[in-house]
Amino acid sequence: MYSYSHAEVESILEKYGDTIYRTAYIQLKSKDQADDVYQEVCIKLLRMKSKIDSEEHLKAWLLRATIDCCKDFWKSAWCQKVIIDNKIVTEQMEEQEEQASGYLTECMQQLPCKYSVVLHLFYYEEYSIKEIAQLLHMKENTVASRLSRGRNKLKKILRKGGKNYEF
């Protein structure tokens, strides 16, 4: 049977729901799709066979599940094929613009997911490179290089918009 009751899941999501939502939104660039991922993470949590003992691990598990769900989304045939069709891409971009929450979020969303997720975990969630590597099941070197490249790409995007930020 499943470990977490509905009330427990509700309480966990009350605490970490925004974290899940923000992580999904930064990668998927659409609030509708972030909603979808949020629901999927909730289902995963409800279907867990054993409880996670610490808050720290629980948060890491939720982030990992969110990132996995986003990856699944990008891999999906629908998403892949939509990208081929310029007309639909344009429509999607317009939709994204409408949904954008702020300038920096918009700039982050212009980055490929592999960079935006690392930057988000580093700057927003304040995970160390080592922790991100554990979370994403990657080598620390890979995380460090993605962080560095992502940062450079982001700086370029910000400069284009006439903004200079200290990193």
Partner: protein, 271 residues
């Protein structure tokens, strides 16, 4: 300006929509009640993606989106197609795998692999191919379309995810001067998933249309009054949109409901 502080400030303003947790829990409960397994293939509204994938194939070919924002998800039980609309389940009968030469298909020179957002392909690979005629398609895939000798099939696309042993087709049918956009899902040998099919969330059955001696097509309507008809032929679950006065757009199929029924009757006669 410091990026970290500014980004944090901006991100903190982004909140999950109210009521989303309750909605997610209710959805999870509904899935548990329906006993939908947590399989990789059906992770994260994969059914929604699968259904849209087929629709999008048509969009690629025709350059047109048949239905915007159709919320769909797939569901059924071991080879028996079902359609789910607002928790209502409708069976379509048992289907058999198509005798497709998958290896031949994916090694064919014209086959392409669907790429991800970064123009890369990662497993599970999704292979697709376009065909100018039914004859070419049938030769390569062994997939049979209904009444191929009586109607014309144009702009055919076939895709397959060999790892999951299923794929999609899409095509334009020309019959009696009328054009119909159709897409479908099929399985191949090795398909083991317990869930399979099409469905439309937030939709209701408008009508069950009997055709042939024992066939039923389901007319389903979504929130936007877009109607889609579902039926199975030749072991393919077909999904077809038509002009019901609300979902017609430039480039869409011109068929009306009556004409769809006429086409179904033609399919029925060939059984």
């Amino acid at each position: 300006m410091n990026f970290k502080d500014s980004y944090k400030q901006e991100m903190n303003l982004l909140k999950k929509p109210s009521g989303i947790t309750k909605k997610a829990i209710n959805k999870a409960v509904a899935l548990q009640e329906q006993n939908v397994p947590d399989r990789k293939i059906f992770r994260h509204s994969a059914a929604w993606k699968t259904a849209i994938a087929a629709i999008t194939l048509i969009c690629i070919i025709g350059g047109t989106l048949q239905h915007e924002k159709i919320m769909s998800f797939a569901e059924s039980i071991l080879g028996i197609f079902t359609l789910s609309a607002n928790n209502e389940k409708m069976g379509f009968g048992k289907i058999q795998p198509v005798p497709m030469n998958v290896k031949g298909f994916i090694t064919n020179a014209g086959t392409k692999i669907v790429l991800d957002s970064e123009n890369k392909a990662e497993p599970p690979y999704n292979y697709y191919q376009y065909f100018d005629s039914y004859k070419d398609m049938n030769k390569v895939t062994n997939i049979v379309f209904p009444c191929a000798d009586k109607v014309e099939y144009k702009d055919i696309a076939v895709d397959i995810i060999p790892e999951y042993s299923y794929g999609h087709i899409s095509a334009q049918i020309i019959y009696d001067g009328v054009s119909y956009n159709v897409n479908g899902m099929y399985t191949v040998e090795g398909f083991e998933h317990e869930s399979w099919g099409y469905g439309v969330n937030y939709a209701k059955t408008v009508e069950n249309y009997q055709y042939g001696s024992d066939k039923t097509a389901r007319f389903v309507e979504d929130d936007n009054k877009h109607e889609i008809v579902y039926f199975t032929e030749e072991n393919i679950l077909f999904q077809m949109s038509f002009n019901n006065g609300t979902n017609i757009k430039e480039g869409d199929a011109t068929a009306t409901k009556k004409q769809v029924e006429k086409l179904l009757d033609l399919f029925g006669k060939s059984h």
